[in-house]
Amino acid sequence: MITTESTVRQVTLAQAIGEALAEEMRRDPRILMFGEGTATKRPDLVAEFGPARVRNTPLAEGIIAGTAAGAAATGLRPVADLLFAPFLCYAMDEIVNSAGKLRGLSGGQFAFPMTILAMTGAGWGVGAQHNHNVEAWFVHSPGLKVVMPSTAGDMKGLLKTAIRDDNPVLVFTDIGLLEQAGPVTDAAIPLGRAALRREGDDVTLISYGKTVATCLDAAARLAEQGMSAAVLDLRSLKPLDEAAILASVRRTGRAVIVHEAAAPCGVGAEVAAILAEKAFAALKAPVVRLTGPDAPAPGNFMLEQALLPSPDAVTAVAARLCAGPVPCPA
């Protein structure tokens, strides 16, 4: 296998997004980017690629997403920045009904190589109309792909792959991670592959986004208590790396799924169902989810943080599962 020499540098996740965009736009002239304030906020991209490829739009998320879908189906590879995830509600039709379905409905006549960017999660105290982890909605819609990276390196590599993918990909940015720095390279990271952040034998902590760090924290505490926890970062929610999930849980026999999004019909529910269907015999304890509440996120920085799954809670639940036969978690 040939590996390209690419230098490792430290950048923030926000900078990683900018790097991925610039590198991909440099590579492929069909890529263009637009959104509310995109040109204003990315003067470097405007300077390099010109105003035809980096555009400000009117405040109209539906037509932004629709324009991306129409352009994608006819030769361009647009990236649309829809800012905050709840704004996707205004663009649902174009993303779900058009970009997601018109390939299948048309018998495969069109492809939709487009990327949708949206931010979500606790971190800015902006409340539920700017912070709502809706990623599972799109996992539930045919024709779409969904990623939510937890590191700057993954953001860069996955965004590059999303832009190269011939399907609509939603790339969710966890607001709480925007300023976190990490190593990046120029390499694209394939969709559909989870990252095993920590090996472990007693329990698998499965997560994505900012709660991956929560799980790593919990795993360190569990180690102090003599328990070995694996941490699996899903990072790609659709396609989902079933093989990695099954491999780890078959080894540990226990799974705690942790995410900021609410529990009902969320990604954790899907993972739990996969484990029940395909790893039942290997399970030594019930699969447990620790999630954010099924409530509008408060516009209150303190409450926002308080409602996140905590390292303490993850540690306690995992330790209880490891302690012995658990008929049913409280």
Partner: protein
């Protein structure tokens, strides 16, 4: 600007009518599903599509048969699609509501009311950025003009200078609701001015008038690179979704519009121009024969393999 060949227009309009009549019959026999027919909209479809160039692209909606056939769609393949057969334009996966035929330049048909309005700007952006010849014609109904997407679309096309010819086919009906219940004012065309978009309104029952207006509008889009809104005023002569007894339709209003059936209007004009009724009847028989062959073709076409469904979801 080229001239409309009225006999050719009659042939296409007659084929559209024969196609829809055939579909209604097949439906009554349980051989096809419900469909939104374009009966009454033939002059709008043929007039506009005849004014387009081969490289122009078309977006349409649930009431698309007229646009497709006017563009030269094969009635056999169209019928095969509606009957769910493999030789349909979409391999039998679209049914009657989402027929796209990329080979004909009919792209991204959406049956979400206003869906095409949300997509046409992107198609036009591709044409513009990739420097491709051809404008984008986007057909939608008077009902769709109530959707927010209509406004978002016109506004974006105006500020980004996108070559979209918007065609609002105002047929007075929005499913089971009459237009006068859902809007003040008399038409849609006037709304364009608010977005800095030029517009025109034309008698949608007169194919020659539609053609002239559409050719002028298409020329404007082509030469300026900016959008234009053309409203064609006609009437939905059949129900919304077949079968539909139209019990909710005012009988006097329907009768009045039946008197302006676009096919009769054109036939009268051709008769006045000296064509013999026998020549015109021959057009009808020719269309009926084509539809007979189309039904045979669609009937003979196999059903799609259900396993193929998953093949087309992702690229």
């Amino acid at each position: 600007m080229h001239l409309l060949d009225l006999m050719d227009a009659l042939r296409r309009m007659t084929l559209i009518r024969a196609y829809e009549d055939t579909l209604v019959t097949l439906l009554s026999q349980g051989r096809a599903g419900g469909t939104c027919t374009s009966v009454g909209g033939e002059a709008s479809a043929v007039g506009v599509v005849s004014a387009l160039a081969p490289e122009d692209l078309i977006l349409t909606n649930h009431r698309s048969a007229g646009h497709l056939l006017a563009r030269g769609a094969d009635p056999g393949r169209l019928l095969a699609e509606v009957m769910g057969r493999r030789d349909g334009y979409c391999g039998g996966f679209a049914g009657s509501l989402h027929v796209s035929a990329r080979e004909l330049g009919v792209v991204l048909t959406s049956t979400i009311v206003g869906g095409e309005l949300g997509l046409c700007t992107g198609v036009a952006l591709s044409q513009k950025v990739l420097d491709k010849p051809g404008i984008v014609a986007c057909f939608f109904g008077d009902g769709a003009a109530a959707e927010g997407r209509f406004h978002e679309s016109l506004n974006l096309a105006a500020v980004w200078e996108l070559p979209v010819l918007y065609i609002c086919e105002n047929n007075e009906w929005q499913a089971y609701v009459h237009r006068r219940e859902t809007m003040l004012g008399d038409g849609i065309a006037a709304r364009a001015a608010a977005y800095g978009v030029d517009s025109a309104s034309v008698d949608g029952c007169d194919v020659a008038a539609v053609f002239d207006a559409a050719a002028t509008a298409a020329d404007a889009v082509r030469s300026t690179g900016r959008p234009f809104l053309l409203e064609t005023r006609g009437y939905r002569l059949r129900g919304h979704l077949e079968p539909d007894d139209q019990a909710y339709v005012d009988a006097a209003e329907l009768a009045r519009w039946r008197g302006q059936d676009p096919l009769d209007v054109l036939r009268r004009r051709l008769e006045e121009a000296g064509l013999a009724p026998a020549e015109l009847d021959a057009v009808t028989r020719e269309a009926e024969a084509r539809m007979e062959a189309a039904v045979a073709f669609a009937d003979a076409s196999p059903l799609p393999d259900p396993a193929r469904l998953l093949d087309t979801v992702y690229a």
